[in-house]
């Protein structure tokens, strides 16, 4: 059979049929919008939570890079940088610790950042001012300034007692930059310039473990990312093998546990998958039903089209084109609404779990794009799978059958002959028993929609703060000599 170019006329017919059936359009588009909203809201809430938990963990860990080499030399940095599997490589040079009397409650590390990205990678980039350039400049967190009782002002003189592997020196720096200190961080950062580092912590000539006793000053911390966070440990092993071959010469490594699967536990993932399946099932059943009803209503017109020579494939193409048009309208509306609803719901979750900083619990533009893309694909596939069977029914209708079509397979056998009063109830019951399969599908779709809405509400309203926190801490209160409050204190 020759391939013929008739897509245009099928498209035109599909479009015209749609235009003539506004009520049905509204129903289908609404169901597509609903499916899309549910999926988008779920994924954006899930994405925000995962992202937020990851950011929180990163702040506790003190860095956003996936892995790092500890106590290495500049040549190791060059080696890592040259490897094609790694990206975003940054380094910090260890100088020492600030041991002022005032710092009895906090630990202050003195380091030199390779560049702005290095400072950003451990959440210590100055938000006011800049990183130090001359030997007498320093950039510190506001917590350090507070401990020293100094104002948050550039140009302030900052006295520091520096401990470089046991050698104590006194310095007077000028504040060139500062940022909001992170209370959950293990230690506060104080940045000095490269020239200061070169003077007080010059680059050692031997590898870290080759020295006796061990000193830290002058060694580099090199942190980096991979293209994705999948199997970071495996990737790091492979990197070590590539760079060092025999592992005896390899440096210590650090894997950022914010990226490991523990941040998204099995229960959370399983819950997510179940939710997705429920959304799919609910969306499928609703859309399937509407398409099925529409096709039953239009069965004569499909028969007519068959009579005048429209093939089964052309009719199926027409129904699929209609489904695609519905998607083109419904999905964008669903995406926008889903993201907005997701945001509102996230704020409600944030209000419940108010120990966590809201800024972390948002999705980046890139992640949002991925969520939109996946949601759109998911909804599109749901629609296409939902209309597959109605499509087949429409395509396979015989012109003669279409003229006689009654929406039942007449396979339901009723035993006995009942003669009774005809009431609206009895007619309704008979209608339902005419096609049990259809009845089951309709009841299921209604049930699932309710289950879905109920689950969401129960989930959102049922977060038990005490249970949530008990998973994170071991005691009910903490006794310590510290002005930096613990994460949990505010809740008890």
């Amino acid at each position: 059979m020759n391939k013929v170019n008739n897509r245009k006329v099928i498209r035109r017919l599909a479009f015209r049929e749609l235009k003539s059936n506004r009520k049905m359009n509204l129903m289908v588009i609404l169901s597509i919008v609903l499916t899309c909203i549910l999926f988008t809201a779920l994924t954006s809430i899930g994405g925000s939570l995962v992202n937020g938990i990851q950011r929180e963990t990163m702040r506790q860990v003190g860095g956003d890079r996936m892995a790092g080499f500890k106590y290495v030399l500049p040549e190791d940095y060059e080696k890592v940088k040259a490897d094609s599997a790694v990206r975003d490589v940054v380094y910090r040079i260890i100088v020492g610790r600030a041991v002022n009397q005032e710092f009895k409650n906090i630990a202050v590390e003195m380091n030199c950042a390779g560049n702005e990205s290095a400072a950003k990678s451990i959440f210590c980039a100055p938000t006011t001012g800049r990183l130090p350039e001359s030997e007498d400049e320093i950039a510190v967190s506001t917590l350090v300034l507070d401990e020293l009782n100094l104002p948050h002002e550039l140009g302030t003189a900052v006295p520091i007692t520096l401990d470089v592997d046991g050698r104590i020196t006194e310095h007077k720096f000028t504040l060139c930059g500062y940022w909001q200190g992170e209370k959950v961080a293990m230690a506060q950062e104080a940045w000095v310039s490269r020239s200061f580092a070169d003077t007080y912590a010059p680059t050692p000539s031997v590898k870290f473990y080759a020295q006796e006793p061990l000193t830290y000053a002058g060694y580099w911390q090199v942190d980096f990312n991979y293209s994705n966070s999948f199997d970071i440990e495996g990737k790091t092993d492979a990197l070590l093998n590539r760079l060092y071959g025999d592992r005896e010469n390899a440096p210590d490594i650090g894997i950022n546990w914010a990226y490991t699967t523990s941040s998204v536990d099995f229960g959370m993932a399983a819950g997510g998958i179940v939710m997705i399946l429920v959304i799919f099932a609910a969306g499928y059943l609703i859309i399937y039903n509407i398409f099925h009803i529409n096709i039953s209503a239009n069965i004569r017109s499909y028969g007519l089209l068959k009579t005048i020579g429209t093939t089964s494939r052309q009719i199926q193409h027409m129904v699929r084109t209609q489904a695609a048009i519905y998607c083109a309208v419904g999905i964008p509306i669903g995406l926008i609404s889903g993201i907005l609803i997701g945001k509102v719901m996230m704020q409600s979750i944030m209000r419940t779990i108010n120990i966590l900083s809201a800024a972390n619990y948002s999705v980046s533009a890139k992640l949002l794009m991925i969520i939109c893309l996946i949601s759109a694909l998911f909804t599109y596939e749901t629609v296409m799978i939902s209309c597959r069977k109605p499509c087949r029914i429409a395509g396979n209708v015989s012109p003669i059958e279409a003229l006689r079509y009654i929406d039942t397979n007449l396979s339901t056998k009723r035993s006995g002959k009942k003669t009774g009063r005809i009431s609206p109830f009895s007619v309704a019951r008979n209608n339902m028993s005419r096609s049990r399969k259809k009845t089951v599908v309709v009841v299921l779709s209604l049930t699932l929609s309710m289950v879905l809405v109920n689950t969401l509400f129960t989930y959102l309203n049922g977060i038990d703060m005490k249970k949530y926190v008990s998973a994170l801490i071991t005691g009910d209160f903490v006794v310590k000599q510290s002005e930096t409050s613990s994460l949990t204190e505010r809740f008890f």
Binding site: G309, T310, S312, S398, I400
Partner: protein, 227 residues
């Protein structure tokens, strides 16, 4: 040349006690350019016969040849395409696509086939049937007679081997019926079109070149052409 031929065409509905033989060993033939009327009372099997001739329904046994092609040897998809190319239909209930305008309805089977429209021929058909000024109207903006004229134009436009008309005047008043039938006959002659029309109305049947009579599923008179 025989355009249409049947060979012992039989259609049985149901089984056992409910068995109904709607068509019993029907043999007929129609030659090129002939205007044939199939006449029978209600329930005589004439509509079943027409459905078989047009490949809309499959027989229990027997064959239908259109231009020497055994149409039931074709699979459903191929049969639909064959129908689109070789058979034009005119139904009692017009069966126009309600969302397409007059012109689009007329050229729809041609476009379904992916063919270029023979604008001159289609224009001539439209003029012959007096549809020139209503090409942009939708079917629901036309009278019954006008809709049937559109259906005739649609059947003619694809230049089929045969046009099958199922009670084409069944939904029209007597005056309009006369007009439509005259047009069907005249345009059929003008475009050398073979037409098989089903009717229960003797007066209408008289306009045909030949009358085939059918009763209880059997062809009792006029089944074979003189050729």
């Amino acid at each position: 040349m025989k355009v249409l031929k049947t060979d012992a065409l039989t259609k049985i509905y149901g089984e056992g006690e409910n068995k109904v033989t709607a068509l019993d060993n029907a043999n007929l033939s129609v030659t090129q350019g002939e205007f044939v009327a199939i006449v029978g009372t209600s329930g005589s099997g004439k509509s079943t016969l027409l459905h078989m001739l047009g490949g809309l329904d499959r027989p229990t046994s027997g064959k239908v040849f259109v231009e020497n092609q055994d149409i039931f040897s074709l699979k459903d998809e191929a049969l639909t395409i064959f129908r689109r190319r070789k058979i034009g239909f005119v139904f009692q209930s017009f069966n126009l696509v309600p969302t397409l305008n007059v012109y689009e309805n007329i050229v729809f089977p041609i476009q379904l086939d992916g063919n270029d429209i023979d604008a001159e021929f289609v224009g001539e058909v439209i003029r012959s049937l007096g549809l020139k000024n209503m090409q942009n109207r939708l079917p629901n903006q036309l009278s019954g007679g006008q809709q049937q004229r559109v259906a005739i134009a649609r059947a003619l436009a694809a230049k089929p081997a045969i046009i099958l008309a199922d009670e084409p005047t069944g939904n029209l008043d007597s005056r309009t019926s006369q007009d439509v039938l005259s047009l069907l006959k005249v345009t059929g002659q003008k475009f050398s079109q073979t037409i098989v029309m089903i009717t229960h109305n003797e007066a209408i049947a008289q306009m045909a070149d030949r009358i085939i009579r059918i009763e209880d599923g059997r062809i009792i008179k006029g089944g074979e052409s003189d050729e």
